[in-house]
């Protein structure tokens, strides 16, 4: 039987191959191929999550093929609790995204080619346990964004004037992400050369570095290269400016993947590589990054409040929410890290839903500007219901996955970063302000006469992607235990490993303190 992980990775890749040979007029067939190429991974990802052996933990479902012997590169796939959840997230969003892409009418074949290439790349990053292939798929996921935004995107207009052209947005996004990737690549190569293990395999490196830890000074230098390099895509403040513009310019199905999974590549990469491999560097740098991600939360939220364009509101809100994820990572307690991974899932699904909705509204009304919209709840009852639910989820109302996750992040980081935790709570208030304002402005209030022709998503098929996404949000929100347990399997050892080198010091201090108190007595 074929390995499930290989199946997840190969299904969209085979889709690309198949599309290359299909004639461009066969639009129905092309769409079916794309749906099939994302539905198989969805089923397989569900199977992987349910069949993950919870008693043993670690990396599972390995696929190992030696690739470049001279360098120690191997094609190594495997998932642990963290990546299994993210693979599921990506599978859900990719499937919903392909369904949402039915709105694309021109150059359909090329669109699905690039879209499936993007999906393959993201799966590859989440599944790879080899630095070479990790980077390989990472860069492969970034580049298709350029044509996807450039060809099928839309310019950002304000009062009929183009503020950001889609070409500018696409170029800025690609150059930012590639620069970050290259920065991280230099860090990875430095790590590879200086650890002397002659392997790119993450698992082997983990073991090697546990036995022969890297010099603390070296860790101090390499950690920021990796954290900032991957942080660009997360998007870490102040390197986030590519992201809202990119969201706004991209076609809605691409915005969905962009916000839902592409950003998670950054936070996932930070957990998997620098945090995992460079514990001393992590302890030195994490307080600084915690400070930056508080800026993400507050700054992103405040800027979102000031926006009129729906996609910009959600775009800045994404960068604000990613601040919680990064804060959870920085706090480095099992609780906060669990929360961070769960929030990656919750926010991913929520934001995919939000961008899908904005896409539908834009297709129907040809505007995304808040002042021009209003009263759509009467015309589009289904979309409005979904929209309200997305806003509720985003503001962290109980019942949705985001609530559970944000609570875990804030409680988990209380011990280490008290000020940041307080500011994060403030961020929730800001979120609810702009989310409620958006719901009021789009769905309620006086109806604009020019919007009378807008149509709801009527057929069950058109409603399917929204239903899938809301179901995922509600199920995980009401019953988070299975996913949290799965994540917990991998975060607990990770936290223990990362904090381990510091413990002798803490124990030492504790001993000193007790001896001092004894002396005082």
């Amino acid at each position: 039987m074929m390995s499930p992980l290989l199946m997840i990775l190969l299904a969209p890749a085979m889709g690309v191959m198949l599309l290359l040979w299909l004639p461009r007029q066969e639009i129905r067939l092309i769409r079916r191929v794309a749906v099939g190429a994302t539905f198989i991974p969805l089923l397989t990802a569900l199977w992987v999550v349910t069949n993950f052996d919870r008693s043993s933990g670690g990396y599972q479902f390995h696929v190992e093929v030696p690739w470049i012997a001279a360098l120690g590169v191997g094609f190594h796939l495997g998932v642990d609790g963290i990546s299994a959840v993210l693979v599921l997230l990506h599978a859900i969003c990719a499937f919903a995204g392909v369904l949402i892409s039915y709105a694309i009418k021109e150059r359909v074949k090329e669109y699905y080619l690039f879209y499936l290439l993007l999906i393959t790349g993201v799966f590859g990053v989440f599944l790879s346990l080899d630095l070479f292939f990790f980077y390989f798929f990472y860069e492969m996921a970034v580049i298709p964004m350029y044509p996807l935004i450039g060809v099928w995107g839309s310019d950002t207009k304000e009062g009929g004037r183009v503020v950001f052209s889609k070409e500018y947005a696409a170029m800025k996004l690609t150059i930012y992400l590639t620069s970050g990737a290259v920065l991280a690549l230099i860090g990875l190569l430095w790590l590879y050369v200086s650890c002397g293990a002659q392997t790119f395999d993450v698992v082997a490196l983990e073991e090697h570095l546990r036995a022969h830890p890297l010099d603390a000074r070296l860790q101090w230098w390499i950690f920021p290269l990796l954290a900032v390099g991957f942080g660009v895509i997360a998007p870490l403040w102040p390197l986030h400016s590519w992201s809202p513009i990119g969201h706004a310019a991209a076609p809605s199905a691409v915005s969905m993947l962009h916000a839902a999974v592409l950003m998670k590549l950054g936070s996932y990469a930070i957990i998997r590589l620098p945090l995992n491999l460079l514990p001393l560097g992590a302890q030195a740098w994490l307080p600084w990054i915690a400070g930056l991600c508080t800026m993400n939360i507050i700054y992103g939220g405040l800027v979102a409040m000031a926006q009129k364009d729906l996609k910009f509101i959600i775009g800045y809100s994404s960068s604000s929410h990613m601040g919680y994820v990064l804060l959870g990572i920085c706090a480095l307690t099992p609780l906060s890290l669990n929360g961070a991974v769960l929030l990656m899932f919750g926010h991913g699904v929520m934001t995919a839903l939000a961008f899908a909705l904005v896409g539908h509204i834009y297709d129907e009304t040809h505007t995304r500007s808040l002042p021009e919209l209003g009263g759509l709840a009467k015309r589009l009852p289904f979309i409005a219901t979904c929209g309200v639910m997305a806003a509720m989820a985003s503001s962290g109302l109980p019942g949705f996955a985001n609530f559970v996750a944000e609570m875990m992040v804030i409680f988990g980081s209380w011990d280490r970063y008290r000020l940041q935790a307080v500011l994060a709570v403030l961020g929730i208030v800001i979120t609810s302000v702009y989310m409620l304002r958006m719901v009021r402005g789009v769905f309620f209030g006086g109806a604009n006469e020019s919007l009378a022709h807008a149509k709801d998503a009527a057929t069950p098929f058109a409603r399917l992607p929204y239903v899938v996404l809301i179901a995922a949000l509600l199920i995980v929100g009401c019953w988070p235990k299975p996913l949290v347990r799965l994540i917990d399997l991998s975060t607990r050892p990770l936290v223990a490993r990362t904090l381990a080198p510091a413990q002798p010091l803490e124990v030492h201090i504790a001993k000193e303190q007790t001896s001092i108190t004894q002396i005082v007595r």
Binding site: F132, M171, T174, I175, V182, L189
Partner: protein, 475 residues
């Protein structure tokens, strides 16, 4: 005398004679052929020559050894790169099938010059003597001078040939002067004498001066800063097949001479040349890629980008490590397939201005896709060949503890991606000026498809190619 060792060179000489005879006999007066048919016959004759040469080279693999005393080496290194030169020439000749709009007259002599350039490159793969190095390099360069100026009706072509001639003569001067200094110190022109000299103790100033003058002469060939000035004008003016030969064949020839000279002879003084080459590599990278940004002519753009790639090649070279030399070999292979594919598209698309590429994806989806893949491979995007080349070169820079150089190399990946994407933007995002489709004939389509397949295969299944080149580059 061990004749089979030089079998391929003899075969090229023989085929030059065949081409001459063919050119003389396939005339309208003699064979009653009209012009188009005559051109096709000559093309078939040249292509047949490549086939014969490939067969000879395959047969020759059993006869590794030396010839002309120790002057000429036929080892694994030579064998591997002779194959690459043969492939390059085959693609260039394949381009000539579409080259009729170039208005090249005297097509027979043109093929003859391609073959004499090939002869120069084949010998360069085998050199083990400074004098032979000079002769082979001049043979290659002289053929290219004439070919660059071949379109006599086009002033830009004449200018290109003239500029290339003047700059090239200066570089030959450097080379000869360096060789004479080395000869004076070593008492012989063979690499053996040189190796003994450099290994014997600290090198004197005259030896180092000689070495650097030779490096300067070769720097012209690979288009490294500060010897790059001829590149943009010659690339712009010369006929496209010639530019492809110049950009791939000539650069690869210069690079493998550097590899052999530096890694098999000059390794004892590595401390000196690695530092100099590292500085040149940084300057070359920055200059080539930054100057490529404002270009409006596709051949000039590729010219500047080829300067940038020389920077990456030097980065691998300056590591002073065997793994760096092997990285250079892999980079050359990746550069070969990607650049040839890019120039093949440039050859077919009428006009060299970047404006002509507006909306190419509407006029010919296949050509646009081919250019897209070739350019992204040059930029170093996975899963394409260029990515692995860049990765290996950067790795060798980190291994030799030149993180600053790796950082500059990384920065230039982003810069080069920018201007390559600007071309992609024109092809996919902008509207075409004319909606006239561009016809691609079957042979061009097949060759281009093979090149693209090569780009993808080298980029995804790297192991066999890496092993092949590593076993070749082990002095």
């Amino acid at each position: 005398m061990n004749w089979p060792v030089v079998a391929i060179e003899l075969a090229v000489c023989g085929w030059i004679a065949v081409l001459l005879a063919g050119d003389a006999l396939l005339t309208p007066r003699f064979a009653g052929l009209e012009r188009g048919k005559r051109q096709r016959r000559l093309w078939s004759l040249a292509m047949l020559g490549i086939g014969v040469l490939a067969w000879v080279l395959g047969w020759q693999s059993r006869w590794l050894g030396q010839a002309f005393g120790p002057m000429f080496l036929f080892d694994g290194f030579a064998f591997t790169f002779k194959w690459l030169f043969l492939i390059t020439t085959a693609v260039v000749i394949a381009m000539m099938r579409q080259a009729n709009p170039l208005a090249i007259t005297h097509l027979g002599e043109f093929y003859l010059l391609i073959f004499s350039a090939l002869l120069g490159m084949l010998v360069l793969a085998s050199i083990n003597d400074l004098l032979l190095l000079f002769i082979a390099l001049e043979l290659l360069t002289f053929s290219l001078y004439v070919m660059a100026a071949y379109v006599k009706t086009d002033p830009r072509s004449i200018e290109a040939g003239m500029k290339y001639l003047i700059m090239g003569s200066v570089s030959s001067g450097f080379l000869v002067y360096g060789i004479s200094l080395l000869y004076g110190a070593a008492g012989g022109t063979g690499f053996e004498a040189l190796r003994a000299l450099l290994a014997s103790g600290p090198a004197g100033p005259n030896v180092l001066a000689g070495l650097f003058l030779v490096l300067a002469g070769l720097g012209f060939k690979v288009a490294a800063v500060p010897f790059h000035l001829w590149v943009p004008d010659v690339y712009e003016g010369a006929p496209t097949p010639v530019v492809a030969l110049l950009s791939v064949g000539s650069k690869m020839a210069g690079m493998i001479v550097l590899l052999r000279l530096l890694y098999s002879v000059a390794l004892p003084v590595a401390a000196v040349w690695t530092a100099v080459l590292a500085a040149l590599s940084a300057a070359t990278l920055l200059y080539g890629n930054l100057a490529a940004i404002p270009q409006t002519n596709v051949k000039r753009l590729l010219g500047y980008s080829s300067i940038g790639h020389a920077g990456y090649l030097l980065m691998g070279l300056c590591s002073g490590l065997l793994s760096g030399a092997q990285a250079v070999g892999f980079y050359l292979l990746a550069y070969l397939v990607s650049t040839l594919a890019a120039f093949f598209v440039v050859m077919i698309v009428p006009g060299d201005s970047l404006e002509e590429y507006n909306g190419l994806s509407h006029r010919s989806p296949f050509l646009a896709a081919a250019m897209f893949v070739a350019l992204l491979s040059l930029a170093g995007v996975p899963p394409l060949a260029g990515f692995v080349g860049k990765l290996l070169v950067l790795l060798s820079a980190v291994e030799s503890h030149r993180l600053w150089l790796a950082a500059i190399g990384g920065l230039n990946v982003a810069i080069s991606l920018y201007y390559y994407l600007c071309v992609v933007r024109r092809m996919y995002l902008l509207k075409p000026a004319s909606s006239k489709p561009i016809a691609v004939d079957g042979i061009s389509r097949a060759v281009l498809f093979l090149l693209l397949l090569g780009i993808v295969i080298i980029g995804t299944v790297q192991e066999p190619f890496l092993r092949l080149l590593s076993s070749a580059i082990a002095f």
